[in-house]
Symmetry: C2
Subunit: 246 residues, 2 copies
DNA sequence: CGTATCCTTGATTCGCTTCAACATTAGTGG
DNA sequence: CCACTAATGTTGAAGCGAATCAAGGATACG
């Protein structure tokens, strides 16, 4: 009992407890009461720092935990036998990494930090165990997993049906929207990834991505200075998303 | 107590109980003991028949249950505002449908039967509840959700990096493999979907799909008679999957 | 037997990739 | 601090693969 008190105060000292975390409402604790958050907190044993360009985990690593991003920016990608590479997503603070590993006890993709980052390590067997006690936590986990499935469907739509410029517009609006939710400017941000990584996500070559950026700039939809992006005409970008031909 | 006996015998009469189901090992009951399977069985209230071309659910429908396919064949697709359509998957017996609905209490895609089908209806709140009692069931659910995420990554790889013929080869090998697991011939099967639906899944136009079929037939990799497919050279098909250029 | 749906094949067009050259920025060591 | 180098980004020209447009053939169904 006083062990729990000690741990809570330790967490408080590090300012890393879920209860104090600004990302609480985006993350697993959403909707839990104070006591439940405290129990989740005790479970989140360690925070882990991951330096830029370093992997949080790699395909083939044994699956042990989910990771909640506290600060930073990641990409996930899959590599197949013949060297093909596909970026499956870019993840920012408050989002959960590692769900690919649950099905086979082994990670099937790589998670690479695109800037110096920090994650909360959530041992999965303990999370399942606590989920059996706390229905709301269990349901949150299910929602996080399902949300990822729905997001993936959106990426399939993008890759399967959209033109290059439509893909980039969708990408920019998505990034912008997610920054907004996190309290950052929706109009100005800097991309953490290279043109090649964007292309690899959007199913395009880096030259095509670069051309699309230039086109949008010519059309005064955005201004681009390397990775510094300013959205000048968000309605125009949304229009660029719409299918041109009938 | 005798209520459970009565229900078990009822289930036995209908030959639809999980315990008797040939798909047990592919489905949610995998790894559960007899008693646990019986409890899951009691939860699976109704079986539901879905006629060819009819929806099991539609985007926007309230989410209430997951569905385990007993017999039949489905496609799932998403439709966006400007009329674009993307088939996100084809599902066969033993696979689970409906996971897209968990995140928002509402389905985000359509599930359409491609032949007369039957599903087990698994009310989701009850499944969560039983999962809190039966750790193995809870874990199975998590694995099913994660497997879907990993599958989606494979589709992204396909859509993002592969050429038309590579996509079709991957598709055929995937279908073949899943039929094999279910005890059907890996070499001969008939497709339940049109060329257009295949194209819509693979991010190609139906003419391109048709041409790729013809090409494979010319190369003696497969024989095609409408939807009747015979794989003549599975190793050759796997080769067609490999990137041609360096 | 007639009609609608689905499929195949050919010719042409278009969008993205490929190849290439160069510009810019970031990082490193003298 | 600057020179040097590697990494990243931009832009142009040519080539190629899939889409589009079009016509005809096969199959299923009432």
């Amino acid at each position: 009992m006083d062990k729990s008190v000690r741990e809570t105060s330790l967490a408080g000292r590090l300012k890393t407890a879920c209860a104090q975390c600004s990302l609480r409402e985006l993350c697993l604790p959403v909707g839990l009461n104070q006591d439940e958050v405290a129990r989740l907190d005790r479970l989140v044993g360690a925070r882990r720092k991951v330096l830029r360009q370093q992997p949080l985990y790699r395909a083939g690593d044994p699956f042990e935990a989910l990771y909640a991003i506290r600060v930073g920016f990641f990409k996930t990608d899959v590599l197949n036998e013949d060297g093909r590479n596909q970026v499956t997503g870019f993840q920012m603070a408050g989002e959960i990494l590692g769900m690919d590993g649950i099905s086979s006890e082994m990670h099937s993709c790589n998670a690479i930090a695109l800037e110096d980052s920090e994650v909360c390590v959530i041992p999965f067997d303990q999370l399942e165990s606590l989920g059996r006690d706390i229905g709301a936590l269990q349901h949150n986990l299910h929602q996080v997993l399902s949300r990822e499935i729905v997001r993936d469907h959106g990426v399939m739509m993008l890759l399967g049906t959209m033109r290059a410029e439509e893909r980039l517009a969708a990408f920019l609006l998505n990034i912008s929207q997610r920054f907004t939710v996190r309290g950052f400017s929706h109009a100005e941000f800097h991309l953490r990834m290279t043109r090649e990584e964007i292309g690899c996500y959007l199913g395009l070559k880096l030259e095509t991505v670069s051309r699309a950026f230039s086109k949008f700039q010519d059309e005064k939809l955005i201004s681009v200075q390397q990775r510094r992006i300013r959205i000048l005409d968000s309605a125009g970008l949304k229009k660029a998303l719409e299918r041109r031909s009938g």
